[in-house]
Amino acid sequence: MRLPERQLAVLEAASATDERTIDDLAAATGHKPETVTGAAFDLRDEGLLAVSETTTEHAELTDEGRRYVADGLPETRLYRAALDAGAGDGPVPMGQVIGAADLAGHEVDVALANFPRKGFGAIDSGELSVDADADPEADPEATALAALAADDDADDPIDTDVLDRLASRGLVDLVERTTRAVTLTDAGVDALMEGVEAAETVGQVTPELLASGEWRDAEFTEYNVEADAPEVNGGRKHVLRGTADRVKDVLVGMGFQEMAGPHADSDFWINDCLFMPQDHPARTHWDRFALDVPPMADIPEALLERVEAAHREGVGPDGDGYHSPWSEEFAREIALRGHTTSLSMRYLSGYAGAELEPPQRYFSVEKVYRNDTLDPTHLLEFYQIEGWVMAEDLSVRDLMGTFEEFYRQFGITDIRFKPHYNPYTEPSFELFGEHPETGEEIEIGNSGVFREEVTKPLGVDCDVMAWGLALERLAMLTTGAEDIRDLHGTLADIDFLRNAEVSY
């Protein structure tokens, strides 16, 4: 008979008459206890060994218990301090004694609860009196703790009531421990009598081993399959791209076409088309990244005139314009887009391609630029999800239904629509939803129906509803990132990117 070396060692160390424990066998064979356990079970499966199990309850000190062994139980310390303060002669103020006993926090409660229970004395109206006859030295709980500390493995017969009491005080943990022992079976004895040889073991499968057929007689060395392997870092898609892809998938599934267009654009497309007055605070240099390039020469003349007229005079017989200055010069200036609504304007006007007839749905997940301070929740550049639906007679209810469906795809339900104001949409709503994990109410987007002052100059005669939201906000929810800079930019930590959970 051939057996792997470790099984053979265990078999030879076992006895037919005496139970040998795993620890005994480990000592005898020089193998680790877990190796011996594995070999013992393998031998049992071969019918060569019998394995018995006995379970014993065992007490172990907790950190708190260990601390009291060193410092003394809080109630004992209180008793001694009270005696020192003269409580033997009459009640003393409790606060003073607690200070003298060096008790703090949780220990104060522990001391005050156990002091009267053990008959050390009484607490009344903030004063302590002691029973001078009490003997903390004879306290069975202290004695048991000391005994456990002296020998963690001691199976001293400590009174079970005392143990239970210590467990309920959180000073000891009661754990079950299983001890295994083996004896040789008759088959095992026979096998040893007939002689058992150790099988040869092979470290690695090699082409030679496979080609020669020697693998048939080989015994493979066992690995510690639970051990950590060397770290492997394959490439992976950026976690924020993963979220962006997911958003794109959802929107394409909902019938949206993707838009593309320039990052550097004229204020005309970025703001004027959106009916943002030229003296709006968001159009000042504080919020806007103006670029030092010449102004845009080519803007469709008729469109430019219609947009200017909307700003100055409003749209429709009852429309009013803004009482703000408007200059074509400003409209032609180039800046980094503060929102991707500039793309929506290019598409809705037909400038980006074909004239669009309703119905249409379009989206983009693209970068926008805001002149803000860089901090854990704000970036100078971030991704904006932008989407719109163009159709005849859209209502606020259609808007609500569309956005509910979109957010439901990300596990965000119970969307709330808070009436809001934007210069370019009316009615407008801020969208709030519940964080899927924390349950917190968070703002997750801004939406509305484009004003006629936006759509009419673009040549659109039906309704367009639109919404926007920062991709990073969605990603922070789905990845749990707390600092947006971990996700995005040259400050990113490669380790964070390698370890961030994949979103799908």
Binding site: G235, L291, I334, V396, M400, H420
Partner: protein, 578 residues
């Protein structure tokens, strides 16, 4: 967004709801769109709201909105106005940059400390919003008893004059000072003067308001001390100057409504623009102010129903209008149309759509049932977005960590630290697109190439384990006057292998695999590039077109970035793989 500070006791008094506790008030205000933000040091409640309803910038306006919300008030309210006694004359010397003035007289005010604080707050908040930081409109409020406007001739009306004054041409004692100062000195020596100096510093003459005793107001900077409003003031002169007559008239209206809500009486003033002075053409040269006329717009029943997606009885619509502080009348017929009367303090109603929003708010948007629109469209990705994604997938398969770097950078990062000269004929050497007024010196231009971002990222990650094979498919831009935006925007594919054994071969092997994925033919003729080691640098030529560069990064660049491992890298235009 604007924030209004509200003394809850005052709000209870002005709404007549003494029984409402703070929590109820907060909930009711949330329903109006005012979100509780916190408390001031004095215990006032602070609410943030969207900048459309600027009539809610003080406790009086918020109380008025709440009274409509509770149903305690309905329809349009316009305060009575008494006939004018006072005139504001506009002299032709008024600076042409700030030609317009308006105002009102308010009598019988009873200002306790809280009411005075509220008035000052309203004034400051209006300055910050409609007044665009006082540039477009600024309010001055004076104790009328201290203004001496007795007519020069018997029987004529009392008046004050809006005129221009030489910067050093006169003196007065401004608020918060005891010194007689010239307007020019105020701009230099007085705290408020310094704050607003930029608004008028370029004017030849400064705006000033005079009465019989002399200069008492230096708009938009500061009032004189003589006419300071105190809790003892009973009659007030309100004056506003600015660059747009409509804007200052509306600011004046909101102030008058707030004072009227506290029991004061509004009295008109006459504004007379002198011959030779610029006057607002749409209103003429002689005005009676404040202008508390209502406006009227019409909106159809059908549009209300389609936009809100709800069927209404006309009476229900009228009810919603009245609960919004509007009046509406209609005639029954085939097409029901509402004539809606709008009070003068509303500055946000530009179009009938804005009235439908009011109906929606009064009806309760939260009562609307969401529905998925029954509109069929076909979805799809943009071609470039699909290409970017496919290249990214190939790069990840080749073991690269996908990066996402900022598009904005600085000249030192983009050029100097990579040893590249701006305007040179190498990859990354394009002319920068610079930000005119950068917020931070780290972000002053768009990146002309992506490798600097990648090397900067490696610099940040020297504490992490190697190999670090990283790549990015991202945006780059350079100045190009042949483009309509004068900016040429491209997508660039950039990758770096940073490891003990990084070599030209390691980079080229991966580039070759990527090109093979896209059926593109790669050749790499020798070239020079300052970021790479001479003799180990090649041009990336795809399908015959030079589109990028590949090589071992120069030790000088590595040392500059504190990198102690070799780096081999390539960068080329994404479009080459199309």
């Amino acid at each position: 967004m604007p924030v209004v500070d509200i003394d809850a006791d005052e709000l209870r008094e002005l709404t007549g709801h003494a029984d409402k506790d703070d929590a109820e008030l907060k909930a009711d205000l949330f329903g109006l769109g005012l979100e509780f933000e916190g408390e001031t040091d004095d215990g006032d409640l602070q609410f943030e709201f969207a900048p459309d309803r600027l009539d809610r910038l003080s406790v009086e306006g918020v109380a008025r909105s709440l009274r409509y919300h509770y149903g305690d008030a309905r329809g349009v309210y316009v305060p009575e106005t008494n006939d004018a006694e006072w005139t504001i004359e506009v002299d032709e010397s008024v600076p042409e940059e700030r030609p317009y003035v308006t105002g009102a007289v308010v009598r019988g005010v009873d200002l306790d400390d809280a009411a005075l604080d509220s008035l000052i707050q309203l004034q400051e908040k209006l300055h910050a919003t409609m007044g665009r930081g006082r540039a477009k409109g600024a309010i001055g409020i004076h104790d009328l008893a201290m203004v001496k406007g007795a007519p020069l001739q018997e029987g004529a009306e009392p008046s004050v004059t809006y005129r221009g004054v030489d910067p050093e041409g006169d003196t007065f004692v401004p608020l918060d000072s005891n010194d007689e100062l010239t307007p020019a000195a105020v701009l230099e020596e007085h705290d408020t003067g310094r704050t607003y100096a930029d608004l008028v510093a370029s004017y030849d003459r400064y705006p000033a308001i005079y009465d019989e005793l002399g200069l008492f107001s230096f708009p938009p900077v500061i009032n004189g001390k003589r006419t300071e409003v105190t809790t003892g003031s009973r009659d007030l002169l309100v004056e506003l100057t600015g660059t747009d007559q409509w804007t200052i008239d509306k600011m004046c209206t909101i102030v008058c409504y707030a004072l009227s809500a506290r029991g004061a009486t509004i009295e008109s003033v006459e504004i007379e623009y002198a011959d030779g002075a610029a006057f607002p053409e749409e209103y003429g040269s002689a005005l009676v102010r404040p202008n508390l006329e209502t406006d009227t717009k019409s909106v159809t029943h059908d549009r209300i129903e389609t936009l809100l997606g709800v069927d209404f009885e006309p009476e229900a619509v009228v009810d919603c209008f009245e609960r919004s502080g509007l009046d509406a009348s209609y005639t029954l017929g085939e097409d029901v149309t509402y004539e809606v009367e709008i009070p003068p303090y509303r500055v946000d109603v530009l179009h009938p759509l804005d009235l439908i929003d009011d109906v929606g708010r009064a009806y309760g948007f939260d009562r609307l049932e969401p529905r998925y629109p029954d509109v069929g469209t076909v979805g799809g990705r943009h071609e470039r977005s699909r290409l970017e994604d496919a290249v990214r997938t190939s790069l990840v398969g080749l073991g690269f960590e996908d990066l996402l770097n900022f598009h904005m950078t600085s000249a030192p990062e983009n050029y100097d630290r990579m040893r590249v000269e701006p305007g040179s004929d190498v990859v990354g050497g394009g002319d920068p697109v610079s930000i005119t007024e950068p917020y931070s010196e780290d972000y002053t231009q768009l990146r002309t190439w992506a490798l600097p971002s990648i090397v900067a990222l490696l610099e940040r990650n020297t504490h992490n384990a190697y190999p670090q094979d990283v790549a990015e498919v991202g945006f780059v831009a350079e100045r190009d006057e042949s483009e309509n935006t004068n900016v040429a925007e491209h997508r660039s594919v950039a990758a770096a292998v940073a490891r003990r054994d990084a070599s030209y071969e390691a980079a080229k092997g991966r580039l070759q695999a990527l090109c093979d994925d896209f059926g593109a033919e790669l050749s790499t003729p020798r070239t020079e590039h300052p970021s790479f080691i001479g003799g180990r640098t090649a041009a990336v030529v795809i399908d015959g077109e030079p589109v990028g560069v590949i090589g071992e990064v120069h030790p000088a660049v590595l040392a500059e970035h504190d990198l102690e491992v070799p780096v081999a890298a390539f960068e080329f235009r994404l479009d080459a793989l199309r």
